[in-house]
């Protein structure tokens, strides 16, 4: 058990994380945090292009948690108001990064890993083609944007998306990813 929040702060600072949130996340909360992040980066003299990129990754990743986290509040409810997850924004070795994590059902693991592995090896032009293909295919369905969000992240990230899946128990795994700007 963490007895002192200062220890947590030191741990976050060591990772370069200047913002980190863990818990139930909502659209309203995300909008507020997004505003603060933009201000913070302005104070840091980040250029407007970088600010938009970091902000867009923050939104896509937060909405990914909101739509797809398997950990809901209240637990087990299908039409839950809140989705739980963790999201962080940091600056490390001259690059900004955005990282998120949430619980997923074990049945979803293979398809997520397959999608992200496929994106990792695509170059800029391939990502663009794939983005347009997926957008065209899904455009008339009432989708929450699954898949397209990952491609968007891959296109904006200067490095391939890093991701990790860790089995928690027979039902759930913890999924996390990181993008770099």
């Amino acid at each position: 058990m963490l007895s002192n929040l200062h220890e947590l702060k030191i741990m976050l600072n060591q990772q370069g994380l200047f913002f980190c949130f863990g818990g139930p996340i909502s659209q309203e909360l995300m909008v507020g945090i997004g505003d603060t992040l933009r201000n913070k980066m302005k104070f840091d003299d980040a250029d407007s292009k970088t600010i938009v990129k970091v902000f867009s990754m923050f939104v896509e990743q937060s909405q990914n948690i909101i739509h797809y986290s398997a950990e809901k509040t209240p637990p087990g409810s299908e039409k839950a108001e809140l989705s739980n997850g963790i999201i962080g924004v940091g600056y490390d070795n001259d690059y900004y990064y955005v990282s998120c994590g949430n619980m997923i059902h074990n049945e979803a693991v293979d398809s997520i890993c397959e999608q992200l592995t496929r994106l990792q090896v695509m170059d800029r032009d391939e990502l663009k083609r794939y983005y347009k293909e997926r957008r065209r295919k899904d455009s008339h369905k009432d989708s929450k944007g699954a898949g397209l969000g990952f491609i968007e992240l891959a296109r904006k990230s200067v490095k391939p998306i890093e991701f990790n899946v860790q089995k928690v128990d027979e039902n759930f795994s913890f999924f996390s990813l990181k993008t770099t700007i």
Binding site: V31, D35, V59, K132, R136, S139, S143, G145, L148
Partner: protein, 130 residues
């Protein structure tokens, strides 16, 4: 047919749909949790409006600071509808994609929409923000 005006919020754009002036503008941020719910009234009015549109030029301005990936699908749906009106009924429709001159991603998004369209006039308009 009544005009549609929706005020901007931090995560949804200002919508001005003036049917008498043949003008639709979406301006601001666009990353709601559910884009479909947000755009229902716009698409509903658009459908009726397009049935009434004859020789006049319908101008559609889209000026987004940021839009999320599901809004990108919504935009493609919108442009597809307009494109079909031009292709099938020879309607006069002009879309202005207005973007920050310093944001090359926003310019690229515009180009990528343009590539998807057959006959719709789609102008990329760069704007300098202070």
């Amino acid at each position: 047919m009544e005009n549609l005006n929706i005020k901007a919020t931090k995560h949804t754009p200002e919508v001005t749909f003036d049917v008498d002036k043949h003008f639709l503008e979406l301006k601001g941020e666009c990353y709601p949790e559910n884009i479909t719910n947000f755009t229902i009234p716009i698409f509903k009015l658009l459908k009726v409006y397009l049935q009434h549109l004859e020789k006049q030029t319908f101008t559609v301005n889209v000026e987004f600071i940021y839009f999320n990936s599901s809004s990108s699908k919504m935009l493609l749906d919108l442009f597809d509808i307009l494109d079909k009106e031009v292709v099938n009924y020879k309607k006069n429709i002009v879309v202005n994609w207005i973007y920050n001159v310093e944001d090359e991603d926003a310019e690229e998004y515009g180009e990528e929409f343009e590539e998807e369209l057959e006959s719709l006039t789609f102008n990329l308009v760069s704007k300098k923000y202070l």
